[in-house]
């Protein structure tokens, strides 16, 4: 057990190996820092985290070191004394900030980072009000193309070298480097070798200032207008924790949120830039029924009772002919509700798992210069491109003991053994689509098809009822990732048009009252389905809850 003293306040840091920045964090004291990042090596070059350090002897006497030291490089030991607010430490921090601003253009009004910029924040908190420099600033030319998704405003760079270390240590692709020397140093790429690896845009998050900007987000919104919610990326089964930044009904960007249980600090570009379908104008906006071969709008209040009755009447005649298809994009709560609805019609109703999109093989980083993966793996982009296969499978397993594949259902449909089908799809548009034309044709002769989806697909062309689904960015619930980690997602944007969240629709089909409230449903789910028992508190916390599963052990 080690005790450190931060500005005179004793803090127990246990047996963890921490540096002074982390130790001070435990005491609630912010030591400003730029170059240090918990996932990257220590270079101690920005000199922002200078503090006074001393040692407290067992007899209570304190000896301070004569000079300021970088907190990121100094390990916290028992009896370490950290002083961040002495004149000496404050002067050193102030001086570093003044130095950093010497050649910084101070173009905050047009800078994308303004509002979440560490240079702004630290200057406000630790810097001096005015620069003493009256000379001209260096103005290195901007580099609009250093990668397909990243642009570099060279003059704003403070040379913390986080981005360079990221490409060397995490992605391993080493595209970025520092060229020139002294105050003419710049970040750059080798000619003809742009920053195009699949983790590239993480450098934008790592950049403490507005030097590296995401082309996807550039000049779209001022960050203070964005509403930020905790969520989980839905693009692969890694289930990266993210911040979902949206405004009104538009998603503007996704940023990785640190989660040691899921992915760590970063996320891939596939997930980060894969959200655009949420804002697509092609999405279904209202519930529709097919009349005379044409889809015509029908209000929710009319369409839902109709669907309920239709399913009930089919189930009375041929319960085994009723099939529910639950896509792996549903949340656990939604899967639970629709399964409950369909199984309530009759125990013989069959539930199938929707198509699970698999693309290639798992892609691990870091890679070497030839693109071959190397150990130890620091980041994995999974081949399974859906967020909740495990969660939905567990629901299916609970309700009918076995998991029927989508191929099986299609096969049965082609043989005319399916009388009614509820497709709870919610698939994002990905190359190839979630269902092929041939498969769709085999479903064509089913007498009753409800297609509950986001976007037009081969099925919605002939489905009898088309319900607009909500995307993951618009709903709340639980995703279980490839390793069985249950994480909560929250709605970040309001669905447009008449879209209702899928869970709400299922509640209405079940004739249950009230609005969907994920924690309440989660408690219900935990009480009923043993696999989810660990979620009984309803709240999953920041990092989610690992569900222990004997099968994977």
């Amino acid at each position: 057990m080690a005790t450190v003293y931060v500005n005179g306040k004793p803090v127990d840091i246990g047996n963890e190996k921490l540096n002074l920045i982390q130790a001070a964090q435990k005491a609630g004291v912010l030591i400003p820092h730029y170059c240090w990042h918990p996932a990257l090596t220590v270079v101690a070059s920005c000199r922002m985290c200078l503090v006074e350090v001393g040692e407290r002897k067992p007899d209570g006497s304190i000896t301070m070191q004569p000079k300021v030291v970088p907190a990121c490089q100094t390990p916290a030991k028992d009896g370490t004394v950290i002083v961040t607010n002495s004149n000496k430490a404050k002067f050193a921090q102030e001086q570093t900030l003044e130095d950093l601003l010497l050649n910084h253009p101070l173009d905050c009004p047009v800078c994308d980072k303004a509002g979440e910029c560490l240079l702004q924040d630290y200057t406000f908190n630790f810097g001096r009000a005015q620069s003493r420099m009256i000379d001209e600033k260096n103005t290195p030319p901007n580099k609009p193309y250093i990668g397909n998704n990243v642009t570099l405003f060279t003059d704003r760079c403070i040379m913390c070298s986080r981005c360079v270390r990221f490409t060397r240590e995490i992605s391993g692709t080493a595209e970025l480097q520092i060229i020139n020397r002294g105050h003419h140093s710049e970040i750059d790429i080798f000619p003809g070798e742009p920053l195009n690896n699949k983790l590239a845009t993480n450098v934008v998050d790592l950049c403490p200032v507005g030097a590296l900007c995401s082309k996807d987000f550039l000049y779209k919104q001022r960050v203070w207008n964005l509403k930020t919610r905790e969520s989980v990326c839905a693009d692969c089964s890694t289930g990266c924790s993210i911040w979902l930044d949206g405004n009104k009904s538009i998603v503007y960007r996704l940023r990785p949120r640190y989660n040691p249980q899921a992915q760590g600090h970063f996320m891939c570009d596939d997930g980060r830039l894969g959200y655009h379908y949420v804002n697509s104008i092609e999405r279904f906006l209202q519930p529709m029924v097919r009349r005379d071969g044409k889809l015509t709008p029908l209000p929710w209040t009319e369409i839902l009772p109709t669907i309920r009755q239709a399913f009930q009447s089919v189930a009375q005649k041929d319960a085994a002919g009723v099939v529910g298809v639950l896509s792996p994009f549903l949340t656990c709560e939604e899967a639970y509700l629709i399964a409950k609805f369909l199984k309530k019609l009759s125990g013989q109703v069959r539930l199938a798992l929707g198509p699970v999109p698999i693309l290639g093989a798992d892609d691990t980083y870091p890679k070497d210069r030839r693109g071959r993966p190397i150990q130890p793996v620091k980041f994995t982009i999974r081949a399974e491109k859906c967020p909740n296969r495990r969660g939905v499978e567990e629901i299916l397993r609970y309700f009918q003991g076995e998991i029927i594949s989508f191929e099986q259902v299609v096969h049965d449909a082609a043989e005319g053994r399916v009388q009614a089908m509820y497709l709870a799809a919610g698939y994002p548009p990905r190359p190839g689509g979630w269902i092929s034309e041939t498969q769709a044709q085999m479903l064509q002769h089913i007498p009753l098809i409800v297609c509950h989806d986001l976007l037009p697909s081969p099925v919605s062309n002939f489905a009898h009822y088309v319900l607009p689904g909500a995307s993951w960015a618009e709903k709340e619930g639980t995703f279980v990732n490839h390793a069985g980690l249950a994480q909560a997602i929250h709605w970040g944007v309001v669905p447009t048009g008449q879209i209702r969240t899928d869970g709400q629709v299922f509640l209405d089909l079940l004739e249950r009252r009230g609005l969907l409230h994920a924690p309440t449903l989660r408690k219900e789910l935990a009480a009923e389905v043993p696999y989810f028992a660990a979620l009984a508190r309803g709240d999953l916390g920041e990092y989610g809850i690992p569900l222990n599963d004997e099968r994977s052990a």
Partner: protein, 443 residues
């Protein structure tokens, strides 16, 4: 000290041949024979330690002590890096040693490797030293042909390879950890310490980094004994517990506004005035000196009134300079504008700062911009305060940078401002203009 017999420059002054046979005829490789056949490595280390030899590269760290920092019983390999990246302005003693008497240096390297059990030595030459490279390579080839390098040197269980490595002409690569980075093929950026090179240096193995002149001294310490070495120089100051004394001969480089610029070998402790007047032939054109740089420009500036300071490891610090440095004295006469001197210094450091730590990267550039402006005649009096504070707060001594380049960049600035403030103020007020600028204007 007029009758001092040169040791390191002994053969150079005689214009002796750099070939192995000639060096052997002058008593060369006697020390190596003695060490390999009669002494254990630990005894060699002890000899160097008792001699009080301090590193000649600038910092003056005791060499024997540095060698003892290597981990005991390390399975190896241990590397020896010889710093011949002699890039401190006005310093040229390593070049003379390498070009004129390469075997003396190489014998020192072999002895140092024997003492530290290093199996490979890298000599990091600055890029500009093409002739040194060729002469040294020739000498190394001779040694391989004569069983003084390679496997089983002199029939004993002692193996050593020496490689020459030419840098890419960067001042920062003279800093020991930047040198190691550069040697490994990376960007020459100093490493954070710990770990120190003795624990984890080149290629993540224990490494000793020594200067050319230091290893040349090792040759003579082993040959003539520690007591001989200690008979020269200045004993430690009893009032300063951190002073370990300045023993042995030192190569002083004299340049600038003197009648006879050059390199002389003298025991440590000669005063600057004696050095200039007696060995440098006095200030040129019958003028008086305004000041001098005691040991490469990073060590600061001495005024004429401070010329009686002895040039040993502790001396220059007594008058506010950083230290002895490389003992390269540059004199500037009374006609020289201090503004021009400081501008030139600032330009050098702004160009050579590696750009890693913020205070040095931005600070050197800022100081240069201020000096440019002052020189243009647009200076303000408060600029002098800014320069003084900026010079004071960067470096390892206040703790704001990784390596000592920033100390060296800040020191002459604050020295110049403190010691010549009147002249700066006069210049800024417009009373006196730079002569150099007038010369440029007339062209």
């Amino acid at each position: 000290m007029a009758d001092f017999e040169p040791v390191l420059l002994r053969r150079i002054l005689k214009k002796a041949s750099p070939w192995l046979d000639a060096y052997r005829a002058d008593g060369g490789y006697r020390a190596l024979q003695k060490a390999v056949h009669e002494m254990t490595p630990a005894q060699v280390v002890d000899t160097v330690k008792t001699s009080g030899l301090r590193g000649r590269g600038g910092a003056g760290f005791p060499t024997g002590l540095k060698w003892t920092f290597l981990p005991k019983d390390h399975p190896g390999p241990i590397y020896m890096c010889i710093n011949a990246d002699e890039s401190e302005p006005c310093t040229f003693n390593n070049r003379i040693l390498m070009e004129e008497d390469p075997h003396q240096v190489l014998e020192g390297i072999i002895l140092s490797c024997y003492a530290t059990r290093a199996s490979t030595a890298y000599v990091y030459l600055r890029y500009e030293y093409g002739r040194s490279y060729r002469v040294m390579q020739q000498a190394i080839d001779e040694l391989y042909n004569n069983n003084l390098l390679g496997r089983n040197i002199l029939g004993r269980d002692f193996h050593l390879d020496i490689y020459l490595h030419r840098g890419a002409a960067a001042y920062i690569c003279g800093e020991e950890t930047a040198l190691l980075e550069s040697l490994e093929g990376k960007r020459g950026w100093p490493r954070i310490k710990p770990p120190f090179p003795a624990v984890e240096g080149a290629f993540r193995k224990p490494t000793v980094v020594n200067n050319i002149e230091t290893v040349a001294c090792v040759t003579h310490i082993v040959d003539r004994g520690a007591d001989w070495f200690k008979s020269m120089g200045v004993p430690p100051d009893p009032k300063n517990p951190r002073d370990t004394g300045s023993y042995g001969p030192k190569l002083y480089c004299i340049s600038g506004h003197v009648n006879k610029p050059g390199c002389v070998e003298l025991p440590l402790g000669i005063t600057l005035r004696e050095l200039i007047d007696k060995y440098g032939g006095g200030v040129w054109k019958g003028r008086k000196a305004k000041g001098a740089i005691p040991g490469g420009i990073s060590m600061g500036i001495m005024t004429e009134a401070e010329f009686d300071t002895p040039l040993d490891f502790a001396g220059p610090a007594k008058v506010g300079c950083l230290g002895l440095g490389t003992a390269a004295v540059t004199v500037f006469d009374e006609e020289t504008s201090i503004v021009d001197v400081l501008y030139n210094i600032c330009r050098f450091f702004a160009h050579e700062s590696c750009g890693q730590c913020t205070p040095c990267r931005e600070g050197t550039g800022w100081m240069l911009k201020i000096m440019e402006r002052i020189r243009r005649g647009q200076g303000r009096l408060e600029d002098l305060n800014i320069l003084e504070v900026a010079g004071d707060q960067m470096g390892i001594i206040p703790g704001t940078t990784i390596c000592g380049l920033a100390d060296g960049a800040g020191w002459p600035v604050k020295n110049a401002i403190r010691k010549f403030r009147g002249e700066f103020e006069q210049y800024i007020r417009g009373a006196k203009k730079s002569r150099l600028l007038e010369l440029v204007k007339t062209h």
